[in-house]
Amino acid sequence: MTAPDRLSRRGMFMKLSLLLNGAVGVVLAVPIIRYLLSPVIRERAPGYESWLSLGDLGQFPEGQTRIATYRSPAANPSDGETANIPCWVRRVGGAKFQVFAINCAHLGCPVRWFPQSGLFMCPCHGGAYYSDGSRASGPPERGLFEYRYKVEHGNLLIHAGEMPTTGAPVARLTKIVPLTNITIGKPPCA
């Protein structure tokens, strides 16, 4: 029998084996975690966003808002139709555009454009936006997400690729206008 303060041969092997397995665990865990985090740790420097063509300018009459679709730059063969992403293109005039994400700034449902009343309406929680994308009513805290755009060789290009959420790159372009002049629950003419 060994004294309690002395390391026995068996005890040392036990500790060594724990140490070895711990080291192996770490060695295996690093690649596993790296694999799991691959959607976050982007392979390419610019991330998921890139310039994508929405097609010829002629498709977008001045003063009107039309739907356009682009294929996600990150698409892979198994995506099917889910990689076709729609957006609303408003041609203010000439080469001045506004390109809005289809996703409501509240919780991402697809907003629909009503040219008659000049409003975007959301079917989920009732958000509404004016034709310039600013918030009109409902739960959204901000206007519609807007893509950066440029016109090249008669084509309209937008900088897109990531689903617009409040944290996505596209959201950082537009400032959140603080909610003022909103009277919830108060009769309009009280």
Partner: protein, 487 residues
């Protein structure tokens, strides 16, 4: 018979399981727990078993690919013999399982079963509830239709509001920048491997704890739980007034489980499978996404919360709720078990039930959503047009053409986002109507830019006709003073 016995003996000589299994089966439980109130845990386990079996059957044909999943469900529904029935069983099984788990939890709470020494059983139970809800949500995603697609969008939008980490969590959740192939694949892995695996492990632990600690006795008002004496008292109770679990208590469990399976199958046959609704094609925006039944209350909450409270409520609310549930056995681990002596517990349940019920009921109607096709699909009631002037009828046309009907009901049809307008002339004068239409406010968009003066005049003329026959429209009494006529 002798052959069976000798084969059994051969196996038991090696496995040595007969004695412990018999011990488990014959362990004594308090006689009063052989009750119909104690059948929900075993029923949840039965439905879980059914979910595993039907899930494996579906996995034989389901294709977990964003491009193919929807088609494979159509094939299951329409081309494979009884494929629809297996889908219906699995879908209804999900609803039944969530419902039974909730009832089980309610019974455990009202019977004080979470108190000493069963705190850990309760905590594992909370984990099982979360896993069950996780199965329900991920299952809805695997039905990869429009509701699933936009439901994922909502999940991603909520996650994106988490401070600092939000955008990364969205990428992690979706497996990339958008809802696409990798999203479905990871939800498939969650629904088929990760969550069921955890469920099986935690169900095992849950049942083990029930066996080790004994089933909760029937609560008697005045029988107080004390840490020092409880275990001894419980042991005495099972000895004095106990019955063996088999056959004393298990009979009702078996009857109820059988009844539940029958009811589930009846629902599956009668109502059929859930969906899939439209194809998961984001370019089809003519859609009105709705969550599954057990998430409807959340849909209502998300619509009704004031915008400024939404993010805090979404991010902090669940943490508080979970914290309270997990901490419950620690701040209420002793004392009365009977619901008759726990009025706050009963009132809490009533409050939660009424709140969830109300939200669920509201979400079925969704008064906060505009009715997107009311302007073209719901005509203005004929009585509002009969005998009106040309200007007023022109105003009715403006009302339709400018989508007012999407948010405002007339004659009980149309949206409920804004107030119904059948009596609006009684409430607002002409000036007030003009102001409201042009400037909006009170959660209504301003229409000033989208209505010509002529359209506004016509619309207001029409709105002024909207009052019940016996009730005069509102008028500005100051106008009378101005013109020298007493109001």
């Amino acid at each position: 018979m002798r052959l069976i016995k000798s084969v059994g003996a051969w196996f038991d000589e090696r496995l040595q399981l007969a004695a412990p299994v018999r011990e488990i089966m014959e362990h004594r439980v308090p006689r009063q727990t052989a009750s119909w109130a104690y059948v929900f845990g075993s029923a949840a386990l039965t439905v879980f078993a059914l979910q595993i079996i039907t899930g494996i059957l579906l996995a034989l044909l389901y294709v977990p690919s964003a491009g193919e999943a929807w088609n494979s469900l159509q094939i299951l529904n329409h081309q494979v013999a009884l494929g629809w029935f297996i889908r219906a069983l699995h879908g209804w099984g999900s609803n039944f399982m969530v419902a039974i788990v909730l009832i089980h939890m309610l019974q455990v709470f009202l019977f004080g079963a979470y108190k000493f020494p069963r705190e850990l059983t309760w905590i594992v139970g909370i984990l099982l509830l979360l896993l069950t809800l996780g199965m329900a949500f991920t299952g809805q995603v695997l039905r990869f239709d429009q509701d699933a697609y936009w439901g994922l969008g909502i999940g991603a939008s909520i996650s994106s509001r988490i401070p600092v980490l939000g955008p990364w969590i969205v990428n992690l959740l979706l497996g990339g920048p958008i809802i696409a192939g990798p999203t479905l694949s990871r939800f498939f892995a969650l629904h088929v491997f990760v969550i069921p695996g955890s469920l099986i492990a935690f169900v095992g632990l849950h049942v083990l704890l029930v066996l080790k600690l004994g089933i909760n006795e029937w609560p008697m008002p005045g029988r107080i739980v004390r840490r020092a004496t409880y275990v001894k008292e419980y042991h005495e109770l099972t000895q004095k007034d106990g019955v063996p679990f088999v056959p004393g208590a298990i009979v009702k469990d078996m009857f109820f489980s059988g009844f539940i399976l029958l009811a589930l199958a009846a629902c599956a046959v009668y109502f059929g499978p859930f969906g899939p609704s439209g194809q998961p094609d984001p370019t089809i925006i003519q859609t009105v996404p709705r969550p599954d039944y057990f998430f409807l209350w959340l849909y209502a909450v998300l619509s009704l919360l004031p915008p400024s409270m939404e993010t805090p409520a979404l991010l902090i609310g669940p943490v508080i709720a979970l914290g309270v549930l997990l901490a419950l056995p620690f701040f209420s681990g002793e004392g009365e078990k009977s619901w008759k002596r726990r009025p706050i517990a009963v009132l809490t349940i009533l409050l939660v039930a009424v709140a969830l019920g109300t939200f669920t009921q509201l979400a079925g109607r969704a008064p906060w959503s505009p009715v997107m096709d009311a302007w073209s699909g719901e005509p203005i009631p004929a009585i509002y047009l009969k005998g009106r002037t040309a200007l007023e009828r022109q105003g009715a046309l403006v009302f339709q053409a400018k989508q007012c009907h999407n948010c405002h009901a007339l004659g009980g049809a149309g949206g409920e986002r804004g107030p119904e307008l059948d009596r609006v002339a009684v409430v607002l004068t002409q000036d007030q109507l003009i102001r409201q239409v042009i400037q909006g406010g009170g959660n209504m968009p301003a229409y000033g830019k989208n209505l010509s003066p002529a359209e506004t005049t016509a619309l207001v003329a029409f709105l002024e006709t909207l009052h019940p026959p016996g009730l005069a429209p509102a008028r500005d009494s100051s106008l009378g003073v101005e013109s020298g006529v007493r109001p």
